[in-house]
């Protein structure tokens, strides 16, 4: 496609530096030194677009002397003085977003929304630049799109590995930004232009909107507080001219570039470049992983409480760690995407979906399918999602599509359409095709292109609707001809028949052959996974059968009776253990599980606990205290004992209350939670129930939990001297709320004196001492 070249201005901060204007808050210069700001803008007036001097102007980062409004307005006035189009410049907030940091999506959104509201009638467009976190950039673009129709350009910064600092690739950035409707996307800052070539190539290979490149003047060196750049105008221009030839149509400069550089670029303003037109693909992403729905992609079905008692219980209890572990084990089994459904009657589904989606994204970087029949829950799941999510689902009913398509459009998602409507699932493939066509057409009316729609032709059970199994497969083939990708929940087919995995596998093979792209299935079923890996060989997707060979080389050719695999030795060179006592003592989790099952065959559960587990833990504790065993071995023993307790609980409903509850938290402002987590596992190994509030826990959440859970005590952890005041404030709030529970304090910088000063009842130096002193002081 032919595009006209637009030239942006160059570096602002480095121009201030060159003029000897050094201030901590350069945005304030819009007011305090408007003359210099205008002079720089004017020096760049050969460019087509001038960006405002507002990079750090947002309520999270800005610490200047004026209001955001005053600075924004002055900055726009200054930029106007160059007589060119003015784009409002927005940089990242400077805070680290969840899950790595503590900044929430809504806090970032509110900061960007404030800027949008203040400026939407005063500028010609926006450039959101130098972002590293895709989620933060999404918050910015959403906030802008919500309040203005002006052009929005968005750039991220990449390193030599072609990833942003947070791990996003050009393909992932382009997929989300394009779906969100930005008018141009690309790269700025980062490196010099020559080093950016691979990033530029990759953007051009996937983008259907104009690509922006605004490099630095090479890598800077900081000497005596001055930033030194080495590239000459010629060094800079050679790769830039190449980028124009490759199809880049928006160019400018970042750190270190000066009017001399932009004057050269401006010679190309308005000339035509030919941007490649890549094929549209159906892609679903997290912030660091992209799944292209070509071939057969495995969507794990296990984060769906239907028929799963334990998951249901975990959701009702708010045990998000359970979901995290379930997500991780599916990923390790080979899932490429994960379905997430939290529909349990009695739960506030939108609130739980929001928490669950965040928690699963923290545990795994597999892209998610947000699965709900409640549009509010869908929106809660996709709003702060970092990437292009798949939404499951709509069907052919007008009111369902009208409720869900606006969410798909707004958040740049891909949507799964079920070929059914108010009248249920049609019997014939042709009728299902008609519904698919209807869904695709209605999506288009909402501005959702065909490559962002997938179709599920719906599996009915072979036991009840035997003739319809073939219709599902036929419908797959028909729907694929519409140019959309397909999905099926394959295991439905076997419901009500014996040996379900056998039917599932046969059906899966047939469905893949009929055109299935995304089986939604149990990745823990090795035979099902094997069917997919085998299909990838037969379809030619697994070139040279490389992946298949790496998985199955050495496997026997004899038909197997699916004998259960021998339990894996914990470590190749570790000596075997012979008893449960020894397994716990040596910290062997897998063997602890096996031996617990053995013991339970001959002993009562309480005898296993009191006769073996407790004595083993006592021994470990003694050896740890005497310096014979070290912390890693204590943790390993605790994990092994925990595993044994879990086995016992699985087999026997728990009676009574156990040994009591402990509420644990790493205090507000502190994100170092490894010490708290060690305390948790050791407490659990001694039979205590731990209510783990996590890290950076707001004071009021500690108070709420203490009042609600009625624990034996509250344990607070802090690592840094700077977060000890927050521990003190938490204890004060507990007392003010009338909570008289004992408070235990711990953490690297604490000692008995500090703990007493801040109002804690007990200080314990390590996890074992915590257990011992709870036993001694509170269980007398």
């Amino acid at each position: 496609m032919l595009r006209k070249v637009t030239v942006f201005d160059g570096g602002m901060g480095s121009e201030f530096e060159r003029r000897g204007v050094l201030v901590p808050v350069p945005e304030d210069l819009n007011i305090t030194d408007a003359e210099n700001v205008r002079a720089i803008h004017k020096a760049y007036s050969m460019a087509d677009v001038i960006s405002t001097n507002t990079f750090g102007l947002n309520r999270i980062k800005y610490r200047g002397k004026f209001s955001i409004q005053e600075v924004a307005e002055a900055a726009i006035q200054n930029a106007r003085s160059a007589g060119k189009r003015v784009f409002f410049d927005i940089g990242p907030t400077g805070g680290m977003m969840q899950p790595l940091g503590t900044l929430t999506f809504e806090e970032a959104y509110a900061a960007f929304e404030e800027l949008a509201l203040l400026t939407c009638n005063k500028v010609d467009g926006y450039i959101a630049e130098t972002f590293s976190d895709l989620k933060e950039l999404k918050a910015c673009v959403l906030a802008l799109k919500a309040h203005t129709d002006k052009p929005v350009y968005a750039t991220m910064t990449f390193d030599k590995t072609c990833r942003t600092l947070n791990g996003t690739t050009p393909e992932i950035a382009a997929a989300l930004l394009e779906n969100l409707g930005v008018d141009a996307l690309g790269v700025n800052c980062s490196l010099g232009p020559k080093e950016l070539k691979p990033v530029v190539e990759r953007f051009l290979a996937v983008s259907h909107v104009p690509v922006i490149v605004q490099p630095n003047r090479g890598l800077p060196q900081l000497v005596d507080g001055k930033t030194q750049y080495t590239l000459t105008v010629e060094d800079f221009m050679a790769p830039m001219c190449e980028f124009l030839k490759m199809g880049v149509s928006v160019v400018g400069g970042c750190c270190g570039t000066t009017p001399e550089f932009i004057a050269e670029l401006a010679k190309y303003s308005g000339t035509e470049v030919e941007q490649p037109e890549p094929e549209y693909k159906t892609v679903i992403t997290s912030s660091t992983r992209l799944v292209n729905l070509d071939g057969a992609r495995i969507c794990g079905e296990r984060l769906n409480p239907t028929g799963k008692k334990k998951l249901k219980e975990a959701l009702l209890k708010g045990d998000m760690d359970y979901l995290a572990r379930e997500a991780i084990s599916q990923e390790e089994a080979g899932a490429e995407l994960l379905d997430l459904n939290v529909g349990v009657p009695g739960l506030n589904e939108p609130a739980v979906m929001e928490r669950a989606a965040l928690c699963v994204q923290e545990a795994t970087d597999l892209p998610l399918q947000i699965d709900s029949s409640d549009p509010a829950a869908i929106e809660a799941g996709v709003r702060s999602y970092a990437g292009v999510p798949l939404i499951n689902s709509v069907n052919g009913e007008g009111k369902v599509m009208d409720a869900v398509f606006p969410i798909v459009k707004k958040y740049g998602a891909v949507v799964l359409g079920l070929t059914m409507d108010g009248k249920g699932v049609p019997r014939t493939a042709e009728e299902r095709l008609k519904i698919a066509e209807r869904i695709i057409a209605r999506a288009a009316e909402y501005g959702i292109p065909r490559h962002r729609v997938m179709i599920d032709t719906l599996v009915l059970t072979a036991s009840a609707e035997q003739p319809l199994v073939k219709e599902t497969l036929k419908a797959l083939t028909l729907v694929r001809k519409l140019g959309v990708k397909t999905a099926l929940g394959v295991s439905n087919v076997s419901f009500g028949l014996p040996d379900r995995p056998r039917l599932n596998r046969a059906f899966l093979a047939a469905a893949l052959q009929a055109g299935l792209n995304m089986p939604i299935m149990n990745p823990m079923d090795g035979e099902m996974m094997g069917t997919i890996y085998a299909y990838r060989v037969l379809s030619g997707e697994d070139m040279g059968a490389e992946d298949y060979i790496s998985r199955y080389a050495g496997a026997s050719n004899a038909p197997t009776a699916a004998a259960p695999a021998a339990p894996k030795a914990e470590s190749a060179n570790a000596s075997p253990v012979a008893t449960l006592y020894e397994a716990v003592r040596r910290g062997r989790k897998g063997e602890a599980r096996t031996f617990t099952e053995e013991e339970l065959k001959i002993k009562a559960p309480m005898d296993v606990v009191n006769g073996i587990l407790i004595p083993a833990l006592e021994e470990v504790g003694r050896l740890y205290d005497s310096g014979t065993l070290y912390l890693p071995q204590l943790i390993a023993a605790a994990e092994a004992a925990k595993e044994a307790f879990a086995r016992i609980q699985e087999k026997f409903e728990r009676t009574g209350e156990g040994r009591g509850k402990v509420v644990l938290a790493t205090v507000k402002g502190d994100v170092h939670d490894i010490g708290k987590n060690i305390c948790k596992v050791v407490l659990e190994s001694y039979g205590f129930e731990v209510v783990d509030l996590g890290k950076d826990v707001p004071i009021e959440r500690v108070v709420e939990a203490a009042l609600r859970e009625k624990p034996l005590c509250v344990g607070l952890s802090a690592l840094m001297t700077t977060t000890v005041p927050s521990m003190k404030a938490t204890i004060e709030a507990l007392r003010a709320a009338g909570c008289t529970l004992p408070v235990f304090a711990g953490g690297a910088v604490l000692n008995r004196e500090v703990a007493r000063e801040i109002g804690a009842d007990f200080y314990t130096e390590n996890a074992l001492e915590l257990v011992k002193s709870i036993e001694k002081e509170l269980l007398k």
């Binding site: 923290e362 310096g627 912390l631 390993a636 994990e639 994100v671 948790k680 700077t722």
Partner: protein
């Protein structure tokens, strides 16, 4: 980077003071490559021939006396390592703990390797918080090397994120080795009780 040095410092961070067990060796052997795989070491530095203002107090003055240049530096392994540690902790606390120690050791080792480029006439890396200095001084280092460019931010309470990040000070033109002499923890140190130190000699 020497693997046995790296293993030794991992064991030190784990609080392992004697010969490691075979299990521990195997676990480190399994987890260290995953941490290495997740790590994207980044570094930013600034050089000063005049003393930056925040360093004109003890113990920095003593540490830097005789140096002709001060190098401020910030290093990080990036956020992916933080996520890996959390993920492993959810599956198994021991693995998470080992990953945390591997990451700390790896960050130190990468930082040491990068400092080779500063020449042999240099001090060790002094980080705010050592020797009674104020850990909040990290802020001045991060600002002056523009650490946001390599993805390091600070929370309101002054913590660096990603967690596996460091900010340090190196003097050029003199040589010093780490010692316990000025350390604030000298009397309470768990390592010293075992007759060891927290750094490699």
């Amino acid at each position: 980077m020497n693997y046995s040095d790296l293993e030794r410092s991992i064991l030190t961070y784990l609080g392992f003071f004697s010969e490691p067990t075979a299990e521990m060796r195997a676990l480190i052997g399994e987890i260290l490559p995953r941490v290495k795989g997740a790590a994207r070491f980044r570094r930013a530095e600034g050089r000063f021939t005049a003393l930056p203002f925040f360093l004109s107090k003890e113990p920095y003055l003593n540490f830097l006396s005789g140096a002709h240049t001060v190098v401020l530096e910030a290093v990080t392994l990036g956020g992916e390592v933080d996520l890996l540690i959390r993920r492993l902790s959810k599956e198994d606390m021991l693995s998470g703990f080992v990953a945390d120690a591997c990451a700390s050791a790896l960050l130190e080792a990468y930082a040491d390797d990068a400092e080779e480029a500063l020449g042999t006439e240099r001090t060790y890396r002094f980080c705010p918080g050592y020797g009674g200095s104020d850990v909040r001084d990290v802020r001045y280092i991060l600002e002056s090397v523009k650490a946001e460019k390599i993805g390091i931010t600070r929370t309101e309470s002054g913590l660096m994120l990603p967690q596996k990040s460091m900010a340090g000070i190196v003097g050029l033109g003199k040589k010093t080795q780490k010692s316990c002499g000025e350390c604030i923890l000298k009397e309470h140190c768990a390592y010293r009780k075992e007759g060891r130190v927290c750094f490699e000699k």
